[in-house]
Symmetry: C2
């Protein structure tokens, strides 16, 4: 019952007798012959069964998605019928064997992209037979192997960190697991291996990696999963540049091995300030331009009141837009926090439409600063800096989608965003909090600013890896000095007692001989999604949950028996 090779690997067997195994992709009967398209994960080939052949009776039982074994001659089709690739070939069946029957599939596989996602998830074992899904998961597997080989060669040690760990009140909501042996107590599923990977550095492992399953019980947006996968890494005795340099080689290796794509090194680095100022995003899509022009000074104190007193005014150059397109872009700007979206159309040496009556003699300078061409549109956002640039950043992406701007650039553009703020001021609670996590090291030049009025200016030694406008990785150099750690806790209003209560064992570890260290985690699902050209991370996860957190195939979550609950010492709250 041995096959000669996978269908996609038959090329060397031309004019030879081969044995194939796979699924009936399609059956057609024509002129007394049976034509079977036989499919495996590597490809599809046409099998021809002649009416007088010994194979005919068995072949005649075959229906869609039956599993079959075929023995026959693998040969080139007549020249006029060749369709390229495997379509140049056919198999003339000498023997056919039905290995297993199949019920009529719940949906036609080659129309899978038109089927409701819930149906695809319910019959995931059918959905996964679709070549797109198989390609995506095989790509993912190749990426894992490439990562493993690279990091192993670079001296990284793969270590598994605990899946049943302690609930911490920081960060997102934990998934809880009742403990049977310690009644009334709970484990938490890990949100990330952050503390454990730092402990491994403290323990002297020097370089660590893991493809870590992580869990966050958040309300699910379109592109979130309750459990997801992180490529988690950490290095000792390094500074930020060491981490970035190694990460660039790793990413280039993965793209080369998996896609045959050469990424130019080094990756461009933008500061957070620059990324926001120029593209209105801390994960800018740099496959295309459309950089913002600075307008604040131009309008300051001028006649257009909305701009005159704005902390920040930015402009972007769009192609000629219809009124309807401008309205749609204004909707995007408002959704993203702007009060509105001012605009101008260039006509000759001046502007028409929108706010043109306020332009006056600013026209030459506006044209010089933006380079807006004849007929082109200038779009403006104004207001508080972060709100203004973020709204215009969203408009920039809408223009990308409207005009297909990304297609002009490279298929994959990777960059770093660096120099994030260490601290974030939360208006609602009127308090400071951390931007990344409380163990991120500040820039050494900025440590003196802790506890001063200027602590918002402290730069973190934190970095994000950005691919085609997606954040695919994020990390930082960590604090290894207990005194700096204490300053950080103080800055976010955490008392010593609080810190001990929450992180006591970790603070003890930190004082036990901690090397300088830093690391990063890749959002592996998202990276693979972009590499595979998929629209959602669910397309690169074999058995994902839907947006209610349900596995529609296995039927999870589900009600469990009262005795099973009693054993772990919990009860379902009344009314639920």
């Amino acid at each position: 019952m041995k096959r000669t090779a996978l269908i996609g690997q038959l090329a060397p067997y031309s004019d030879q007798t081969v044995t194939l195994q796979g699924w009936v992709n399609r059956r057609r009967d024509l002129g007394g012959l049976i034509f079977i398209e036989l499919r495996d994960r590597s490809g599809v080939v046409q099998v021809q069964v002649e009416p007088d052949s010994a194979a005919f009776a068995e072949a005649d039982q075959l229906r869609a998605e039956y599993v079959a074994e075929v023995e026959g001659r693998f040969q080139l089709r007549p020249e006029s019928q060749r369709k390229g690739g495997l379509g140049d070939y056919e198999v003339i069946a000498a023997r056919v064997k039905v290995l297993n029957a199949a019920k009529t599939p719940a949906f036609e596989l080659d129309k899978g992209d038109q089927v409701a996602e819930d149906i695809r998830l319910k019959y995931r074992y059918l959905d996964l037979r679709r070549p797109e899904m198989q390609r995506a998961l095989m790509l993912r597997s190749k990426a894992v192997a490439a990562v493993t080989a690279f990091l192993e060669a670079e001296g990284f040690v793969q270590v598994e960190t605990p899946m049943l760990t302690r609930s911490t009140p920081e960060g997102a909501r934990d998934f809880l697991v009742p403990s049977r042996l310690s009644a009334g107590e709970f484990y938490a599923l890990p949100q990330s291996p952050q503390l454990f990977k730092q402990l491994l550095m403290i323990a002297g492992f020097d370089r660590y990696y893991q493809l870590a399953r992580c869990f966050r019980d958040e309300d699910l947006r379109a592109d979130r999963q309750p459990d997801f996968t992180q490529l988690d890494m950490e290095m000792s005795f390094v500074e930020q540049d060491d981490v970035l340099e190694l990460q660039e080689r790793l990413m280039a290796h993965v793209f080369r091995e998996v896609l045959g794509v050469e990424l130019p090194l080094p990756f461009p680095r933008l500061s957070y300030q620059d990324a926001m100022d120029r593209y209105g995003s801390d994960k800018p899509d740099l496959r295309f331009g459309l950089e913002f022009a600075e307008m604040t000074d131009l309008f300051a104190g001028g006649g257009f009141k909305a701009f005159a007193s704005a902390a920040s005014v930015k402009a972007i150059v769009a192609p000629e837009l219809t009124r309807k397109q401008i309205d749609e872009l204004e909707r995007v700007a408002k959704q993203n926090g702007a009060g509105g979206l001012a605009w101008l159309r260039r006509e000759g040496k001046g502007f028409t439409g929108g706010i043109s009556k306020f332009v006056g003699d600013l026209a030459p300078e506006l044209i010089a600063r933006t380079g807006v061409p004849e007929g082109g549109t200038l779009l403006f956002a104004a207001g508080e800096w972060k709100k203004a640039v973020s709204a215009l950043g969203a408009v920039r992406l809408a223009l990308r989608d409207l005009f297909g701007l990304a297609a002009a650039g490279p298929a994959f553009h990777v960059s770093w965003v660096v120099d994030f703020p260490q601290l974030d001021y939360d208006e609602d609670s009127a308090s400071w909090t951390y931007m990344h996590h409380p163990f991120t090291a500040p820039h050494p030049d900025d440590v003196a600013l802790f506890g001063t009025a200027r602590q918002g200016e402290i730069r973190a030694q934190a970095y994000d890896l950005v691919l085609n406008g997606f954040e695919v990785g994020g990390g930082s150099v960590r604090i290894h000095d207990p005194e700096v750690q204490a300053k950080m806790f103080a800055a976010i209003g955490m008392s010593d007692a609080d810190a001990r209560e929450k992180f006591g064992f970790f603070l003890d570890a930190l004082a036990s001989g901690t090397p300088p260290h830093g690391g990063i985690a890749w959002g592996f699902d998202r990276l693979i999604m972009v590499m595979a050209g998929a629209a959602s991370i669910r397309e690169v996860i074999a058995f994902p949950k839907n947006n209610r957190g349900a596995d529609l195939m296995a039927g999870a979550p589900s009600v469990v028996d009262a005795p099973q609950l009693a054993e772990v010492g919990v009860a379902v709250l009344a009314g639920e």
Copy 2:
């Protein structure tokens, strides 16, 4: 701050200036000089700091487990002081920098093996600094890389299966996870990816692998963890021999890459019947002999009542034993289900002691069958077959430990146990159940026995991988024919309705075009434990739970706030 190399990789830098980073393993002051043993994961080297050197003041601050950077000349020590390996070398410090201080460690690392395990677990970040622990985890990492490279080259696709899945009443107790989005419902953590890997075969992935985290809420024995790691694999269009052949090459590859050990191929195969008959174990340690001799016929109907009517009598040859040793071995036999342990000491042509008065003229045949030498001891177990051989199997292992018998054999002996029974009769419930799991395929020659009085004789296409007396892997060819699956469910008394209730979605999948397939899972923790020569799987897991399921370092499980519980819709049961 770049180091020249890890300490263990300094050999090429003899007589050169090097930069090293690591931990202070020990500090000694002698004759005005400071001697620092500097340690990283690769080794330890002695650093000599002279009193008049620029390095002295900073070096003088160093204490045990401080983190330091040292620049100096790496050179051979005076011939009389060389200790082999790195001990042949020393570093004459030109510059020393304290990178971080350390509190006095909770225990001395080089006495770690004498420290209570709970202390080691509480301060795991210190315990993991011990070279034994680092070696074990680095070995584990190398094994992961070797497995990944091999399986990738063999066309296996790495796929992640769900961590939040459906509770099934089969098998061990599930860990439950309350769902917040579906109040009153629960996920279960996976006991194994069994159904999912079969679904991947149904989906056409052909060859699958995963290092899968698995969870079983069982009462913890000395060598169990609530979560553990399986190397999980599955192949389509294969028969048992195909799986075994590939597994042998994989295991040989791992031993070669990780330990430089060549395992002789193919691995010996014993049937379950043979393994039990000859060694009293379904995971026999074959590094040494001590095979059982068959005695049932010899004593049948004879004068020694206990043996005369026994279904099975087996003997084993031990060296000369003291009375105390025999008592201890009898205790082992009784603990393992035997009524007692009969014995004889050979003297000349006859026997003394124990049951010698019943031997009579059987002596020559006893000597011929067992080859017991002068002064040697024969040990007997008798009774119901499985009880008798199991008890004597335990005695065999006790003799191994008593006399160090394993040392005579190869360091690693791998074998297969095959032809397990398909069904197991449970005396307590007077009912049949499955031996492996309900999806294991029976031997094709035995299918006709389902539902007959002889169904206990049905052999499964199941196989266990045995290393030095440990079961390190287990798997089977799976049922792909829905009719055979129905016979199997019937044999274990599961109605159609029950089967649908428990496995409905899987049975639908099985009827949707399932290829013949089979697979295996390695108990990865245990395999690494044996490869590393460790005494427990906790020695090859970075952050294990203790035998109460507790993480003593992080403090898990723990009590969580009532509001956090309310959010996921559960309450702790009163009285707990």
